[in-house]
C-alpha cells in the first residue's frame, strides 16, 4: 500500500455521533409538552411556592435530626402551610422465599427492620413498598408479616406483583387489608395505590397459579402485559381525591413507578398519563415507588418521583430512558451481597414536599432534596456516591 495515498474521506469516523432519541424519550417529551400546555400549573409559580416554603422552614431553624447511621440536617421545625413536618421510614422489595430456600433475603429484611427500629427519634410510621414475597406463597407472606410485626412504629403496607399474582391478592388481603386505601397524616393526604395490575394473559392460556406467578416474576417475560393501575382503581383514586383541596400536599405510594421508564423490564405503568392527569390539580404531589431497586429520581410537571431501595438485590440502571434528574447510586460490589441495598427515610417538610434519604448499607447515604427537584436539578444536587480511588 502506498502510504502517500490521502486518506479516503469516506473511511473517516464521523466527528460527531448523531444523537438518536429512543422511542420512549421522544414519547415522554411529547407527552410532557402536552401536559404543560394542558393544565393549571405553570412552572414559575410552582417554584415560587416551593422555594418560599423551604426558606420559611430554614428561618424556623434546622433541627438536628439524629439518624442511627448518619445525622441529617432536617429543616422541619415549626408549622408550615400543611402541618408540622415529620419523617417516616421505608423498607421495600424484600422478595422473601422461605428461610430454608434463601436465608439471605430473610436476613436482609431483618437487617432493615433493625435499622428502622434504631432510628432516634422514631419515624411517625414505616411504609412497606411491596414485593414482600418472591412467589406470593402463603408461607412467604406469613414469614414477612411475622418479621414486620417487630417494627416498633406503625406500619403501612403496599402490595407488589410478587405478592399478588399467585392468588390474586387473597392471602395478602387477609394479612394486610385492601390494596387501595388513603389516610391523612399531619396535613398530608397519603394514597396507597395498587399499580401492578396486568391484562389477563393467564385465562386464555389456561395457566395454573404457579405459572401465572412465574410469568410475572420473570420481569422481562414478554408473555405478560405491562403494569397498569387500571380503570377501576383510577376511578377509586379520582373519587378519593375529589374532596381533597388542591393546596393539600399529596403523597402517593405505588409499587410500579407511575411513569414510563423502560418497557422491556416492566419499569413502566401503562396508564401513567391518566393517573398523572388525576394528580395534576394538586400543588404538590410526591410519588414513592418500589420495584426498581435503585436510587431513582424524576419530576414530571408538579409530580416529584422517588424510587425505594430493595433489601433483596439491586437492579442495574435501564440502558435507556433514564430520567435526567437521577443521580445514580454506585455500581454494587459483587463480593458484597448487601451492596446497593438498604432502606431509608422520607423527611416531609411543613409545605408537604419531601427530602428522600437512601440509606445504602455500607455506603454513605444519599439524600435527594425537594429543592433539587423543584429547581429542575439546579440547586442541592445530591452528592454522588463516594468510591475509593487509588
Amino acid at each position: 500500500m502506498n502510504d502517500k495515498t490521502p486518506m479516503n474521506d469516506k473511511n473517516r469516523l464521523p466527528t460527531k455521533i448523531p444523537h438518536i432519541k429512543s422511542v420512549e424519550t421522544r414519547y415522554l417529551e411529547e407527552r410532557e409538552t402536552l401536559f404543560r400546555g394542558l393544565k393549571n400549573l405553570d412552572r414559575r409559580s410552582f417554584l415560587k411556592v416551593s422555594t418560599g416554603a423551604a426558606c420559611a422552614a430554614l428561618a424556623a431553624g434546622a433541627s438536628n435530626h439524629f439518624h442511627s447511621f448518619l445525622p441529617v440536617n432536617v429543616a422541619y421545625a415549626g408549622e408550615g402551610a400543611a402541618g408540622p413536618g415529620f419523617t417516616f421510614a421505608y423498607i421495600s422489595d424484600s422478595h422473601l422465599y422461605i428461610k430454608k430456600t434463601n436465608e439471605r433475603f430473610v436476613r436482609q429484611l431483618l437487617r432493615a427492620v433493625d435499622d428502622v427500629n434504631k432510628l432516634d427519634p422514631q419515624p411517625d410510621f414505616v411504609f412497606y413498598g411491596g414485593d414482600l414475597a418472591q412467589l406470593g406463597r402463603k408461607e412467604e407472606l406469613d414469614l414477612g408479616a411475622q418479621i414486620l410485626k417487630s417494627i416498633k412504629a406503625p406500619v403501612h403496607m403496599m402490595v407488589g406483583e410478587h405478592d399478588w399474582f399467585y392468588d390474586l391478592g387473597s392471602h395478602w388481603n387477609e394479612l394486610f387489608g385492601p390494596e387501595n386505601y388513603s389516610f391523612e397524616h399531619k396535613g398530608v393526604h397519603f394514597v396507597v395505590l395498587m399499580s401492578v395490575h396486568e391484562k389477563d394473559f393467564w385465562t386464555p392460556r389456561n395457566m395454573t397459579p404457579e405459572q401465572r406467578m412465574h410469568t410475572v416474576a420473570g420481569l422481562d417475560n414478554a408473555m405478560q402485559s405491562a403494569f397498569e393501575v387500571g380503570a377501576p382503581t383510577r376511578e377509586w383514586l379520582k373519587k378519593d381525591l375529589d374532596k381533597v383541596p388542591k393546596s393539600t400536599p399529596v403523597i402517593v405510594f405505588s409499587h410500579s413507578p407511575l411513569y414510563k421508564l423502560y418497557r422491556p423490564w416492566n419499569f413502566w405503568t401503562d396508564d401513567a398519563e391518566d393517573v398523572q392527569a388525576i394528580l395534576q390539580k394538586f400543588d404538590r404531589v410526591t410519588v414513592l415507588h418500589g420495584h426498581t431497586h435503585q436510587v431513582l429520581t424524576n419530576r414530571i410537571g408538579n409530580i416529584q418521583f422517588h424510587g425505594m431501595l430493595s433489601t433483596a438485590w439491586p437492579w442495574p440502571y435501564a440502558p435507556q430512558g433514564m430520567p435526567a434528574l437521577t443521580v445514580q447510586m454506585n455500581r454494587p460490589n459483587p463480593f458484597d451481597s448487601n451492596d446497593g441495598l438498604g432502606d431509608g427515610e422520607v423527611i416531609v417538610h411543613p409545605d408537604g414536599l419531601v427530602d428522600k434519604l437512601y440509606n445504602l448499607w455500607n455506603r454513605n447515604p444519599m439524600q435527594v432534596k425537594a429543592s433539587y427537584l423543584s429547581s429542575g436539578g439546579k440547586s442541592d444536587v445530591p452528592l454522588a456516591p463516594t468510591l475509593a480511588s487509588y
Binding site: 438536628n64 439524629f66 442511627s68 447511621f69 448518619l70 445525622p71 428461610k99 436465608e103 439471605r104 430473610v106 436476613r107 431483618l110 437487617r111 427492620v113 433493625d114 435499622d115 427500629n117 434504631k118 414469614l143 411475622q146 418479621i147 417487630s150 460490589n333 463480593f335 458484597d336 451481597s337 448487601n338 451492596d339 441495598l341 448499607w361 455500607n362 455506603r363 454513605n364 447515604p365 463516594t386 475509593a388 487509588y390
Partner: protein
Amino acid sequence: MKHSHHSRSIRARALVAIAVVIGGAFGVAWAMTTGPHGAMPLDEQQTLLDKLLANPHAPPQGIDGIAWTTIYLPSGNEPTPDRIALGRKLYFDTRLSKDGTVACATCHDVSRGFTDRRSVSEGIKDQLGKRSSPTTMNAALLQSMFWDGRAPTLEDQAKLPILNPVEMGHPDPASAMAGIGTDPAYKDLFQKAYGRAPNYDDVGRAIASFERTLIFLDAPFDHYANGDAKAISPAAQRGLELFNGKARCVSCHMINSSNPLGTDNLFHNIGVSARKQNFEALAQKGLLAIQNNSDEKALDKLAIETDLAELGRFLVSRQRQDIGAFKTEQLRNVGLTAPYMHDGSLRTLWDVMDHYNKGGETNAYLDGGIEPLNLSEEEINDVVAFLFTLTDKRFTEQNEAAFREQQAQAAKQRPFRDNALAHRDMLPFEQRVMGQAGLK
C-alpha cells in the same frame, strides 16, 4: 484490669510455647531468657535473623524481579547495603524509646513471627495500646500500613510509634534523635547511607529499607501451587478448595503469584469491634463529630483519648462504609502471628474460623460480604490446615509447634463458636429484631 490480666496470661502462655517452639530451628542454641516487655533479648534476635536471612542484599525470593524494582521499591529510597545496615541497627535500638526499654524489635520480635504474641502491644511504662502489633514480615508488599491504613508507606509508618505516647513515647523527633544523633557510630552510618547528618526522616527511610529485606514467601503452599502435589497434606488441599469456595475467604484474601500476600488491601467491618458493648454508641459519636465539622486535630484527639479507635478506618477516611472496618491482613506466616484481629481478641485460627463461620459479629455497619458459612468441624479443620501451609519454610518447626499449641488450645476452648448462627438455624440480626425466641 480485666484486660491487662488477660494479656498477661497470654504472655505467660506464649513464653512456655516459645520454649517448646524454637529449640531446633537452624540448630541455634536458645537461651530462653526474655528482655524487657517479654521480648527475646535483642542480641539473640539478631543472631536468629542472621540465620534466617543469609543474604539480605539479594532481590527477594517469590516476587518477580521487575515488579519488585518498579512497583515495590520507592524511588528516592532504594535499598543499599548501607541503608539496610543502618535500618537494622535502628530496628534493634531501644534508644528510640523514651525510657530505653522498647525497640521496634520489642513488638516485632524475630522469634515471634516478627510480632509480639500479645493481644495488644505493651509500650513504655508497661502501657497497653489499643491494637495488636502486625508482623513486619512482608510488610513491604502492603499498600498501606497500620490496621487503619493511615500511613501509606513503611517510611511513614516507622516514624510514628516512636512518637506515640503509649508506644515508644518520645515527645518529638528532636527527643528521639538526642541519643543516636550524637553517637559517632550512627553519624558515620547516616553519612554512608544518606550522605548527611542523622535526621528523623532518614530514621524512617533506613528502617523501611531494612524492613524490605524481611520477605518470607517460600511456603509449602507455593510449592503446591507450582505443581508439587505432595507439598501440602490432603487436609490442606481440601482446605484450599474451601478457601476458594464455600468458606468465601478468597473474596478478600485472594492469594496468587501476582497477589502473594492474600489481602485485598481494603478495609472491612467484620464485627470484631462490635463485640464491645458500646460500639454502636461510639459509631454515632464519631458520625456526630464529623457532622459538626470537627477538624482533623479534634478527631485525632478523640481517636487517642477515647475508644473511638475501635471505629478503625472510618477515622481516616470519614466514609460510612469504613465504620469499624480494619485492614484485611496478609495471610502469609499466619500460623506464627497469633493472636489475631486488630485487637488480638482471637487466640487461635480455630477462633478465627468460628468468627467467620457464624457470619462475624452482627452490627449495623457489618460488611455485606460477611455471612454465615455453614462449615462443619471437619471443614474448619481443613481450612486451618491450609492456613498453616502459608508459613515460610524457614519456620517449619516453629509453625508445627504453633499448630499443635493452637490445636490444644482449641480443644480446650472455642469461645467464638456459635453453631446456631453458623448453620443458619438462627440468622444474624434475628435476635436483635425478634428477641430471644427468634423466628417461628
